[in-house]
């Protein structure tokens, strides 16, 4: 038994049986086989082998798929096989929370510092410091009407009393306590007590806020 000397054609016989040749190559090989007894015999042998092993043992695809690992072991997962996106989400949320809390704290701190800062200590140079003390307002337990303009007035309002020096700040005091005499300190403490007793609800009536003038010693 001899083998065909045309190695190229002979090597293509398995592909011819498998049906993987393109049309042109297939026609060329088939033409050769039609005139070559060795290749025709080998082609028949190949077909027999394929038919003998054509029966495929049944495999349960569903069972195989069920046995596969569920999480692909790729670089997209963090340590321990947990998805990296879960960590990223957690970190982003934590960062946003920190930024929010930090921003809120900063805003509160700025507002507090603005409230306690004597903004109108521009009158520091003046010889008369003005202390505005609101008088106690009657508390309307039956339900005091809300301001007509719908805006809530501050418990301490700028005085509209013509006798009152209109300060820009309700309570402004420049200078040290050491500069005051006993009477002035008592008056100041009394004014502070009055402020503590002041009602929170605003009044529509003109504010008869008395003004306590603190005269510095030696000032005119």
């Amino acid at each position: 038994m001899f083998d065909c000397a045309n190695v190229e054609m002979r090597e293509l016989l398995p592909e011819l049986v498998g049906g993987t040749l393109d049309v042109a190559t297939r026609a060329r090989v088939e033409q050769h086989v039609s005139s070559c007894a060795e290749c025709a015999s080998e082609l028949e042998t190949l077909r027999l082998v394929r038919s003998a092993y054509a029966s495929t043992p049944t495999v349960d695809v569903r069972r195989i798929v069920g046995a596969l690992p569920k999480v692909p072991p790729t670089a997209s997962t963090g340590r321990g096989g947990r998805p990296l996106t879960r960590w990223i989400d957690w970190r982003v949320a934590a960062a946003l929370t920190m930024i929010s809390v930090g921003g809120l704290s900063l805003a509160v701190a700025r507002r507090w510092s603005a409230d306690v800062r004597p903004r109108d200590v521009g009158s520091v140079g003046s010889s008369v410091d003005t202390l505005v003390v609101p008088t106690p307002r009657p508390v309307d337990t039956a339900g005091s009407p809300s301001p007509s303009n719908g805006q809530r007035r501050s418990p301490i309002q700028p005085s509209r009393n013509p006798h009152v020096t209109p300060p820009k700040a309700q309570l402004a005091f420049a200078g040290g306590v050491d500069d005051l005499d006993d009477a002035s300190i008592k008056a100041l403490l009394g004014a502070l007590d009055e402020m503590d007793r002041a009602p929170l609800a605003p009044s529509e009536e003109p504010d008869p806020t008395p003004v306590l003038r603190v005269i510095r010693p030696g000032a005119k």
């Binding site: 049986v17 080998e42 695809v61 195989i64 798929v65 596969l68 692909p72």
Partner: protein, 184 residues
């Protein structure tokens, strides 16, 4: 009933692998459905008469478990054949150790298969099977990978961990032996 894979999925193996890595379970089903029959045939042709399903499953589990080591310079099927072949050889070695049989040469391996006459209806096919079973293990692997699965010599060399030239020699020697067994 809804199918859990796409039988006509035209995606390439690499595309399906990428989809599976992204969490698409159906891509895994498509890959298994696409390659399981060939793996089962190959396992049976290597003499795996029982537990073919289990061998194929173990092959896929091992392959998907180390899918990152798969390189696209060879086809997925070739890579799967390589894994399956190693699994089968490991099983045989384990079986031999259990039997205290230390003969491991190819000729012995070629004679350890049971006759398949009862499984083959036609006489010609039975003769072919016998002829193939008389081949050495290496010849049989090369021959069936070439004829049944259409692998190139280069791909066969990858599966066997051999060279392309060696695969070519094994194939032609196997072909000559089968023809002599059938026609002489």
């Amino acid at each position: 009933m809804a199918q859990d894979h796409e039988p006509n999925d035209q995606s390439t193996d690499l595309e399906l692998i990428a989809r599976w890595k992204a969490g698409d379970e159906r891509a895994a089903s498509s890959l298994v459905a696409r390659h399981a029959p060939a793996l089962a045939r190959f396992a049976a042709s290597l003499g795996q008469r029982v537990d073919v399903d289990e061998v194929v499953q173990d092959t896929f589990v091992r392959a998907f478990g180390s899918i990152d080591s798969f390189r696209a310079d060879s086809s997925l099927r070739t890579w799967l054949f390589t894994i399956e072949r190693r699994l089968i050889l490991d099983r045989r070695r384990s079986a031999r150790r259990r039997r205290d049989d230390t003969s491991v040469d190819d000729v012995d391996a070629a004679t350890e298969f049971d006759p398949l006459d009862e499984m083959v209806a036609e006489e010609a096919q039975a003769r072919v099977r016998k002829a193939v079973e008389r081949l050495s293990r290496l010849q049989r692997e090369v021959f069936l990978l070439r004829v049944n699965e259409g692998l190139s010599y280069k791909e066969i060399a990858e599966v066997l961990g051999s060279t392309e030239g060696a695969a070519r020699v094994h194939y032609h020697n196997a072909m000559r032996a089968v023809k002599e067994s059938l026609y002489v």
